[in-house]
């Protein structure tokens, strides 16, 4: 399932407040693109625009070439920052939410989810309630829930922001492996430059509000098997510095209108 996401001259306002301005971005089929930027620069709004929950004030959004809100909604799945697992459902039923929503029986939905649980090392946790799972485990289940929506485009909204540093590192490795196995077109929003450069093929840096694209960087070591080696390679470190400088300059630029 390979679908592109295209944003052209995208501008969005909430009343008087312009949150995104003139965004041009093409996410190629199967590409993982990171979006970093200071708080309040409209990163999350960008995802809502892509998945058809918001309509842009001006400009154009398309998922797989289709611009209608219903088509965008049909083509993309959203993973929120907090896992938002439903506490009354077992992990596997949480993951199988999309098939259930589409009318599958509980058994049929579980049958769809089970292979993924086995493949991603969650088989032992299928029956566990969310309250019994660690933060990292909960995010894994939340990611499988997003995958099981069966949509070609995944929109990840700071999925690891609430995890501690060690768990976050583990989750980055896990996600990079998952994306190697299940290639999808991804928009990955984060405020962590290092995380973006490790997980994404390309990273877009947004300025402070109104968010504009101030830099686009290609990552040489996207989803490398050896995370530690990738993160300490001189090329990666240099790129991270460039991204941080762009982020800092972008924050200043946004602050003075």
């Amino acid at each position: 399932m390979q679908t592109s996401v295209q944003l052209t001259g995208l501008t969005h306002r909430f009343g008087e407040l312009t949150v995104l301005e003139g965004i041009n971005l093409l996410v190629r089929p199967g590409e993982v693109v990171g979006v970093v930027g200071p708080s309040g620069c409209g990163k999350s709004t960008l995802l809502e625009l892509v998945c058809g929950l918001l309509e842009p004030a001006s400009g154009h959004v398309a998922v797989g070439g289709a611009g209608a809100a219903a088509d965008r909604l049909a083509g993309s799945a959203y993973m929120p920052q907090r896992d938002l697992l439903l506490p009354w459902l077992a992990a596997i039923d949480n993951a199988a939410l999309a098939p259930r929503n589409r009318g599958a029986s509980r058994e049929a939905a579980r049958q769809q989810a089970l292979p993924l649980f086995n493949r991603f090392g969650l088989a032992d946790f299928a029956a566990a309630r969310p309250a019994e799972l660690s933060g990292g485990m909960r995010q894994r289940v939340a990611f499988l829930r997003t995958l099981l929506a069966g949509k070609p485009v995944l929109l990840l909204d700071e999925p690891f922001a609430s995890l501690d540093a060690i768990t976050r590192g583990e989750m980055q490795e896990w996600l990079s492996e998952a994306l190697r196995a299940e290639a999808r077109t991804c928009l990955f929003v984060t405020h962590d430059v290092e995380e973006a450069l490790y997980l994404c093929d390309r990273v877009v840096v947004l300025s402070a509000r109104p968010g504009r694209v101030v830099a686009e960087l290609d990552s040489p070591t996207a989803r490398a098997k050896d995370r530690t080696a990738a993160l300490t390679a001189p090329a990666f470190v240099a790129l991270r510095e460039r991204a941080l400088v762009a982020l800092r300059d972008g924050s200043r630029a946004g602050a003075s209108p």
Partner: protein, 260 residues
């Protein structure tokens, strides 16, 4: 242990003091009531216990009538209250139009309209159900609606991209999320239902605990009044406990089910 011991100690302390003060006549003196002709105007807890035993036939017969009214009225209030909450949640128009009216309905003085209800609904169970439902639906509606409206917007967004339609969203996300809130409202309502039943019976009954209380008052049988109230309180406490148990089973993830 402390859970049982503390309320028991409080109860023993309170009733012990009351017993001593009432038996010694101190309470009657305080109120300028001199017990004469064997009539106990200020009963001690032991008088009430005596009445509970001696009038057990009367109290159980009429208590059963009141309990049925409480259960039926509460059930009706749950159905109406939840339906109303869902309607107000789904339609902004309905909410804006009817929420103020729902609030206003709670300012109706029940003793004022109870006789009118009797005129409309007759002397049967009708007016009692109407009174109970009128005061019980409100906490259920308000709490359930708060629960429905309090669902995390990020969860709603997520469910929409997971192909949930309006009905699916309500069934899979919003109603379960509102369940602990519903129980908060229902627990308030069940205590109100007991009061409502007696209010209804005051006006138009020849049976029920309210009827017993009114009769006993007229005959200055104060111990029996307290005995009937004790039965009523037992109903309310028992039903409250039942609801709490149900909450722990059905909404075990909610705040009301934790810890206690």
């Amino acid at each position: 242990m402390r859970r049982v011991l503390l309320p028991v100690l409080a109860l023993v302390g309170l009733f012990g003091t009351w017993e001593v003060l009432a038996r010694s006549g101190a309470l009657a003196d305080l109120m300028n009531l001199n017990d004469t002709a064997g009539t106990v105007l200020v009963p001690a807890p032991s008088h009430v216990a005596e009445s509970l035993w001696e009038d057990r036939g009367l109290l159980s017969e009429h208590g059963w009538v009141t309990l049925q009214e409480i259960l039926a009225g509460f059930a009706l209030a749950v159905v109406i209250g939840v339906a109303f909450a869902i309607a107000m949640h789904l339609s902004e128009t309905i909410r804006r139009a009817f929420y103020p009216l729902a609030v206003a309905s709670q300012t109706i003085p029940i003793p004022a309209i109870a006789p009118v209800l009797v005129i409309w609904l007759g002397f049967g169970i009708g007016p009692k159900l109407a009174v109970i439902t009128l005061i019980c639906f409100f906490p259920i509606t308000v709490n359930t609606l708060d629960g429905l409206r309090g669902v995390d917007p990020a969860a709603t967004r997520m469910m929409r991209t997971l192909d949930a339609g309006r009905v699916t969203m309500l069934r899979r996300l919003e109603l379960p999320m509102a369940l602990p809130h519903f129980f908060s409202g229902a627990k308030i309502a069940i205590a109100l239902a007991a009061i409502g039943a007696v209010f209804g019976e005051f006006v138009s009954a020849d049976e029920g605990l309210g009827h017993i209380i009114r009769q006993a008052q007229a005959q200055l049988l104060t111990a029996r009044v307290f005995a009937a109230v004790a039965v009523l309180s037992t109903f309310a406490v028992g039903l409250f406990a039942l609801l709490s148990m149900l909450e722990r089973r059905l909404a075990w993830w909610g705040p009301g089910a934790r810890g206690r």
